[in-house]
């Protein structure tokens, strides 16, 4: 079993009497330490998929195994705990707390952690992370005093504070110019290579997706290609095999 396994995930929104299926029979897996891009146009269901992967949302039906645990039926509090411990988020709009220093922004998730760090330990860990993302001299700057790229670095440092096993980045470069985008992407790549953190990049930008070794394409709530780790052959899903093959081709075609 892989680090992440989705089996026949359906997600349907009910608006009034109308059912809107957003995800249909989504099955995929992600290996530990992988850097995967989740690609799709807007409205393709990639955000919904990411929300389910990030334990923010629950699928209507299907199974979601995260690190060997079935989590799709967990309660809200249990999912909060999972998000705190195993998952890190990086958002398109950075989502830093306004009028709060970079250091305190990075420290914020520790407030909900079960491990009880002293204030000094927490500060030290946050400062170390900010140094790692190259902001060691800007600990006390407010978000409004930082450039977009710097803000996103703070957000990355924040997502790493609880030492997550997996990082979800939702259009992390969407609000950045191409130069800073490149820097941020390199940072993800470095984190993946050096720390072995599994990273899922959600993007609609092929240039960003090219960074990843594997690309999962989603269209209209259905996985088009790249659903499975190459070589892993989930039993009983012929379709998946063909999709996987198609995904491999797509990557070759892209590079």
């Amino acid at each position: 079993m892989q680090f992440i396994e989705l089996r026949n995930i359906y997600k349907t929104y009910h608006i009034g009497d109308i059912d809107i299926p957003v995800l249909r029979e989504v099955s995929l897996n992600v290996a530990r330490g992988e850097l995967v891009a989740l690609m799709g146009t807007s409205g393709s269901g990639k955000s919904t998929l990411m929300n389910i992967l990030g334990c923010l949302d629950r699928p209507t039906s299907g199974e979601y195994w995260l690190d060997g645990q079935e989590v799709s039926r967990r309660s809200a509090d249990e999912r909060a705990l999972l998000r705190n411990r195993t998952v890190g988020f990086v958002f398109q709009s950075f989502n830093l707390l306004p009028r709060t220093s970079a250091l305190e922004n990075v420290m914020m998730p520790l407030a909900y952690a079960r491990e009880n760090l002293s204030d000094r330990q927490a500060r030290r860990r946050s400062a170390e992370l900010l140094e790692r993302v190259g902001l060691g001299d800007r600990l006390d700057h407010l978000p409004s005093q930082l450039s977009g790229g710097q803000q996103q670095r703070v957000a990355i440092a924040r997502s790493l504070i609880n030492r997550p096993a997996i990082l979800f980045a939702d259009e992390p470069t969407g609000n950045l110019d191409s130069h800073t985008s490149e820097e941020i992407l390199q940072m993800f790549k470095q984190l993946n290579a050096e720390e072995g953190i599994t990273i899922v990049l959600v993007t609609h930008d092929a240039a960003v997706a090219r960074l990843a070794r594997r690309m999962i394409r989603i269209h209209d709530g259905v996985i088009e290609s790249g659903a499975f780790v190459p070589g892993s052959n989930p039993a009983g899903s012929q379709q998946a095999v063909s999709q996987s093959a198609a995904g491999a081709q797509a990557i070759e075609g892209g590079t």
Binding site: N51, G54, L56, D57, A76, D77, A80, L81, R83, N84, R85, F89, F91, N95, L97, P98, R99, T100, E104, M108, P109, A111, Y112, A113, N116, D119, R158, S159, N162
Partner: protein
């Protein structure tokens, strides 16, 4: 999450928008400030009112001799002579609930100065403690006679304003001699003006002198012995000579006991009686205590057996005490209403702003949930924020209220009294206002869906 970190987070969140936090707390500051100021001013005025009612004699007790009865005919209060000056001393000595005691001998006779004369409403023979009991120690002129004057039966007296007006026509009477029933008394002081009492009787129409002098030197008709003193009724007209201690002959102190009675209860002969004993209790609450202590003491001193009726009466000023307690409770209730209204208004303000704050910080709530905050963490965060706001407002309000009442004291010269209970109540109430009015916004925040909240613009 540790408590101090929750509070730290709340403070940090409030610091992000200090202006709004300040405006929000303004409601609570005004509310609590009003409560504290009202409590202090109210307490001050009610203490002042109580003090002035007390000066009318609300915590006074009047001990009078009992009733003589013979053959089914009773002669009313004061018709026997059972109280002695020693009783008065014993009451002061042995009843802890009693603050001051004054024996009183009353007389009603003519007072003469020069060519003018006047019959005062009351001539009181008493001790200096009488002025303490009646809260009358501030003299308009001169000074009070002393205990030594009482021991020596010195002929000195204090005059009320009415007498000064009638006899001296505005001249200073100090050092002048007046004649009371043809015995000359030196005026040593003039009592301050007290006006009429609740019954409309002029309290300034009074002469106060040592009781020994009145008792032994002035032959007024004592009010007490209406029935027994009929034999000596002629005494008031006779000229008094100083050698006579009991001018006009002394009436029998007690109705002559039958031989059997005398054998059964051998009583020491009492040479001196007083008409009444004025007692003042330590405070209005101590009145019932004082009554029971005096009753027990006098029954023991008068050797009254169990089951026999008292030979004295104790009267308290129930009417005045009632007025006193009703003013106090009226005041308290009024203040409570004001306090409640202003705090509810402040609380609604808090709720309003917290609701705005929750909406405004939807994004933050979504983010916090995304990084692992549970619903109860969010609930707690916003609740603590509201409570911190209210407590800060409460603390400020205490200062503002105290400052306000102090200002009133300085500018308007109103009496104020600090009230620690009001401060404790203000802190508790502002904390509970924070919880009550902060709960709904906090609950609303905690019920948000993290995805919706993150998407909210």
């Amino acid at each position: 999450m540790k408590v101090y970190r929750i509070i730290q987070t709340a403070l940090r969140a409030l610091r992000r928008n200090p202006m709004r936090a300040a405006l929000t707390t303004l409601g609570i500051i005004i509310g609590v400030g009003a409560v504290i100021a009202m409590m202090e001013i109210g307490n001050g005025s009610s203490a002042a009112i109580q003090k002035s009612i007390a000066s009318m004699g609300a915590d006074n007790l009047l001990v009078q001799p009992g009733t003589a009865a013979s053959g089914g005919v009773s002669f009313g209060v004061g018709s026997v002579m059972t109280l002695t000056p020693e009783d008065a001393q014993a009451i002061l000595r042995e009843c802890p609930a009693v603050r001051a005691v004054a024996p009183v001998v009353r007389a009603r006779t003519q007072v003469v100065y020069g060519s003018r004369n006047w019959v005062p409403f009351s001539i009181y023979g008493t001790t200096p403690a009488f002025l303490v009991v009646r809260d009358w120690t501030n003299l308009a002129q001169g000074e009070i006679f002393t205990d030594r004057d009482v021991r020596n039966a010195n002929r000195v007296c204090l005059l009320g304003h009415t007498l000064v007006r009638e006899l001296f026509q505005g001249d200073s009477p100090i050092g002048k001699d007046i004649r009371i029933n043809n015995v000359s008394f030196k005026v040593v002081g003039v009592l301050s003006r007290k006006g009429a009492n609740m019954m409309g009787m002029d309290q300034d129409d009074i002469v106060v002198a040592p009781w020994t002098a009145i008792k032994y030197r002035v032959a007024g008709a004592p009010l007490a012995n209406v029935n027994q003193s009929s034999t000596s009724s002629s005494s008031s007209s006779s000229v008094n000579s100083l050698s006579q201690l009991y001018p006009g002959g002394q009436p029998e102190l007690y109705p002559a006991p039958s031989a059997t009675q005398a054998a059964d209860t051998p009583m020491p002969v009492r040479f001196t009686n007083v008409d009444q004993i004025l007692v003042t209790a330590r405070n209005s609450e101590a009145i019932p205590q004082a009554i029971s202590q005096i009753t027990a003491l006098l029954r023991a001193r008068h050797r009254i057996h169990n089951g026999e009726p008292d030979d004295f009466h104790i009267r308290d000023m129930t009417e005045m005490t009632k007025v006193m307690s009703s003013t106090a409770s009226l005041m308290t209730n009024l203040l409570l209403c004001v306090a409640l209204i202003s705090l509810v208004v402040g609380g609604v303000g808090i709720m309003n702003i917290m609701l705005v704050s929750v909406t405004e910080r939807t994004h933050e709530i979504g983010l916090r949930m995304a990084v692992g905050a549970r619903a109860r963490d969010i609930l707690r965060q916003f609740l603590v924020e509201a409570v911190v706001l209210c407590l800060a407002g409460g603390a400020m309000g205490i200062l503002v209220g105290h400052g306000g009442s102090y200002l009133v004291k300085m500018l308007l010269h109103w009496p104020i009294a600090t009230s620690p209970s009001a401060i404790i109540a203000a802190v508790l109430v502002s904390a509970s206002v924070g919880i009550v009015f902060g709960y709904y916004p906090a609950w609303k925040a905690s019920r948000m869906d993290p995805i919706e909240a993150l998407r909210y613009e």
